[in-house]
């Protein structure tokens, strides 16, 4: 805001060196020889580490297999075989280019089809495919037998990239045997533990600091390879080392979202207008390495949108000699949603039903037919979202084919996302000046987590927000925090903060009761003072309370781990409504209006929650209309590793986005929000394009070329 924030790349420490990676120029092969002789003539090179002299395993770098930090088996153009540290950026860059690597080149594959062939080169010893991974419930085969209509389709989603504005950056230094890493991490505790494990040192000897990070969206959940490279180079040189990735390095070397080729079938009872069952299969191109560590699936989510009696999901991860993949905002979600919500839209059209009403009638009521949701606001999301959007006035049946210069249309899509509850920790300290300090390990990557935590504490304690300060972002606090991912921060850490605040409040009132000479039940805290209920003149400032009690501070620590009962499950819900205008001469699609209705339980901070909705919708517009990593067909490298050619949404292409919050009364209070805001966006836009033009597009992104081809305007 005023230039004071310290992102990793802003740090400057004495004697700092600059690090660069040495990367592979071939898509697949074994390192035969590395020749460093050309570095002899270059002044300022402090250290070189390569796969020839380092065996470090980057455990978080690959889900199933062991991935070496510096590999001797390169699996994509851009894979790291070493790193160099030098006294300036330019020298480090030059050095990295002067290192000569000889390879025994192996045949490579760049597409799912080629990678699945029986004679395909093995990217990993145990083959190129992970899976099948199953999700879903019920007996799909018998459910399909009940159908009087089955509809199906093929759907594809492309490889896209997290592309946070801050490129990957790490600074590391050692003090004796204690390592400090200034990382742009989403999870300081996870990063600390990961680095400790990889370097084989105790976690107590590693300190990770993240004060600010310029976005992540899933690509900095735990230890990153550049954290380790900085640490190792620093150890070797005995100087601090700053690893900085360029924008091109970030696109190529840091993971993005895997693609999906899907086939989906739904079984229908057309008399009742009901979805009986769904059967969804996906093949996903996961690149040379996949960092996915979650549910085990590569697409999922759609099994919980509707009251089907059965849903079967199967996903396969297929390795190719291309850049790595991993978590990106709702890693499995928008892919599954795009297929499901497009086909459901096709069903509604076939049955001549309003697509919003069709979804309303079929929406999920119980989870997988037998568990209750802790709260379920999907019905209101659809109804209120439609009302705010003006669905009834705007929706008309689509044309048979597009005509004229442009066309307008509207589309709807729903989605759900699991909302989890887990361990959180917080420390609250009342200081002798009446000020309160809240310590948690959350990192603020832009979600406003610190503010939300402070609000929870201030509210439970009865003090003003201005009297509370938050200490965060340092693993030396020793406090467990799940980090900023999985839409879990407000839940996990928020619950611990509230618990600590309520306990501290009790302590304060206990202490005050001897001063006021009444029972604690007759006291309260308001605006930072202890007051006696019903006696307006009797109050005591918190600072004075400590003074009377001769205490320097009052402290409370809380560790919480809420448990959801066996027969229940927590889910967040959403219904999105999009209006588009399609230019039929250029094929360009503009989103002209957007309403996103969300049930995430209690909303603590409306301003911040709206920002999460806007952020997810804009990322979804990018995924729908302009973002795609272009993989070179001959070498497998990313051809558009630049903002010039990887088109992020620009301010001129974004309409006003309205958020509607359905605040269901959930026993746990809050539910996750951040990821779900992206999930239904591409489907909603695709459905709007169909409504406008009669053109059903089943592949992301919806490029102008694709629109023109579909309309028959482009015959070449």
């Amino acid at each position: 805001m005023s230039g004071g924030s310290q992102y990793a790349g802003d740090w400057k420490v004495p004697n700092m060196l600059y690090g660069r990676t040495i990367t592979s120029s071939i898509p697949h092969g074994m390192v035969k020889r590395i020749d460093l002789s050309k570095l002899n003539d270059l002044k300022g090179v402090a250290a070189v580490i390569t796969c020839m002299d380092d065996q470090t395993i980057w455990n978080a770098g690959e889900r199933i297999h062991k991935r070496r930090l510096f590999t001797d088996h390169v699996r994509f153009v851009g894979d790291s075989v070493g790193a160099v540290a030098a006294t300036s950026r330019n020298i480090a860059q030059e050095a990295s280019e002067l290192v000569q690597v000889e390879y025994d080149e192996l045949p490579s594959v760049f597409t799912i089809a080629d990678s699945l062939k029986p004679d395909a080169p093995k990217i990993w010893e145990d083959g190129n495919v992970l899976g099948p991974h199953h999700f879903g419930f019920g007996d799909v085969e018998s459910a399909f037998k009940k159908a009087d209509l089955i509809m199906e389709g093929d759907y594809t989603t492309s490889r896209v990239h997290n592309s946070p504005l801050e490129p990957a950056t790490s600074l590391a230094w050692w003090e004796g045997d204690k390592l400090t890493v200034v990382a742009g991490s989403q999870n300081v505790m996870g990063t600390r533990d990961g680095i400790a494990k990889d370097l084989n040192i105790p976690a107590s000897k590693v300190r990770v600091i993240t004060l600010y990070k310029g976005g992540g969206f899933g690509n900095k959940n735990n230890s990153m390879n550049h954290d380790l490279m900085a640490a190792l180079l620093s150890k070797k040189t005995d100087k601090p080392v700053m690893m900085e990735y360029s924008r091109a390095d970030d696109f190529t070397g840091i993971h993005g979202r895997w693609s999906s080729n899907q086939h989906l079938r739904v079984a229908l009872d057309t008399r009742m207008g009901k979805i009986i069952a769904g059967d969804q299969t996906a093949y996903c191109d996961v690149g040379g390495y996949t960092r996915h560590v979650m549910s085990g699936n590569f697409i999922d989510g759609a099994e919980s949108y509707y009251s089907a009696e059965a849903w079967r999901g199967t996903s396969y991860a297929v390795y190719t000699n291309t850049s790595a993949t991993g978590h990106m905002r709702a890693p499995t979600g928008p892919q599954a949603c795009f297929a499901a919500e497009t086909l459901v839209d096709e069903v509604a059209h076939k049955l001549r039903l309003d697509p919003m009403r069709f979804r309303l009638n079929n929406r999920v009521r119980t989870y997988e037919g037998h568990k209750t949701f802790t709260s379920n606001g999907l019905e209101d999301c659809l109804i209120q979202g439609a009302e705010v959007f003006g669905w009834k006035e705007k929706w008309q049946r689509p044309p048979e084919r597009p005509s004229g210069k442009s066309a307008r249309g509207v589309g709807v899509a729903i989605a759900t996302w699991h909302s989890r509850y887990g361990k959180g920790e917080a420390i609250l300290v009342l200081k002798n000046d009446g000020h309160v300090e809240l310590s948690t390990s959350v990192v603020d990557i832009g979600t406003g987590a610190k503010t939300v935590m402070a609000m929870i504490a201030a509210d439970a304690l009865g003090i003003e927000l201005k009297d509370i300060s938050v200490i965060w972002g340092d693993s030396d606090l020793g406090l467990y925090a799940i980090g900023e991912s999985g839409s879990r921060t407000t839940n996990f850490t928020g619950i611990a903060v509230k618990d600590a605040a309520l306990k501290l409040r009790s302590k304060i009132l206990e202490l005050a009761s001897s001063h006021f000479k009444v029972l604690p039940a007759k006291l309260a805290i308001e605006h930072g003072r202890v007051i006696q209920i019903g006696s307006p003149g009797k109050y005591l400032e918190l600072a004075k309370l400590l003074e009377y009690a001769k205490l320097d501070e009052l402290r409370e620590r809380s560790t919480t781990e809420p448990v959801v009962p066996e027969d229940q499950t927590g889910y967040s819900f959403a219904a999105h409504f999009a209006e588009v205008e399609v230019d039929l001469e250029t094929g360009k699609v503009s989103v002209t209006k957007y309403v996103a209705a969300h049930d995430s339980g209690t909303i603590i901070n409306r301003l911040l929650a709206r920002s999460q909705v806007q952020g997810g919708v804009i990322m979804g517009i990018g995924m729908a209309l302009s973002e795609r990593l272009l993989i070179n067909p001959d070498y497998g490298m990313i051809q558009n590793a630049s903002f010039y050619t990887y088109r992020l949404p620009n301010i001129t292409s974004i309409p006003k986005i309205d958020a509607v919050f359905i605040e269901t009364k959930d026993p746990f209070g809050t539910k996750g929000l951040g990821e779900l805001t992206l999930v239904p966006v591409p489907a909603a836009i695709g459905n709007a394009i169909f409504n406008a033009t009669g053109l059903r597009l089943r592949g992301l992104p919806f490029t102008p070329e694709g629109i023109l081809r579909a309309s028959g305007s482009l015959t070449a």
């Binding site: 805001m1 504005l165 924008r247 952020g615 001129t652 974004i654």
Partner: protein, 162 residues
């Protein structure tokens, strides 16, 4: 191969400063590394994203695409130059409208907006949403703050008209 260093002098945030730079050194690197003004960010280093925006002789420019030597004798304003005793009106508007999430693009957004408003002939030019968006079209935001950024700029622009 390192050049001999060249001394460059400019007025930055109201103060006359000199730095010694290589001929190939960008203005962005010079202000970050040599002057410690880290508010301008290196996000793409090829003048697409605008995170490195500074105001150069009254115009918003990408400092990553300007050599430090080109700034000789110029008037520069960086984000650090805005805050005096209290936050600048644009900074306040950004906070009030939650126009920043991760904050990485923010200094560029604010400077582009300020340059736009100060170069505008407010009596004749209507301050509609489209003209604000056009002015900020060189500033990317991955977190998706665009709606709130427009609101913040509109808020400030209304203050100027009275």
């Amino acid at each position: 191969m390192q050049d001999n260093l060249i001394k460059v002098t400019f007025t930055i945030n109201g103060a006359l400063r000199s730095v010694e730079v290589e001929s190939r050194e960008t203005l962005l690197d010079a202000i970050r590394d040599k002057l410690g003004l880290v508010g301008a960010k290196k996000a793409c280093d090829e003048a697409v994203c605008g995170a490195c925006t500074v105001i150069f002789n009254g115009k918003a420019v990408c400092s990553c695409m300007m050599l430090a030597v080109e700034a000789s004798g110029s008037q520069l304003v960086t984000i650090e130059g805005l805050k005096k005793e209290e936050l600048d009106e644009m900074q306040k508007a950004f906070i009030q409208n939650d126009a920043e999430q991760c904050g990485f693009c923010t200094s560029g957004q604010i400077l582009s907006a300020k340059a736009f408003l100060s170069n505008l002939d407010r009596k004749s030019a209507p301050l509609d949403e489209d003209s604000i968006k056009e002015a900020l079209s060189g500033n990317l935001c991955r977190c998706g703050c665009y709606n709130n950024i427009v609101r913040a700029v509109q808020q400030v622009s209304r203050m100027g008209l009275s």
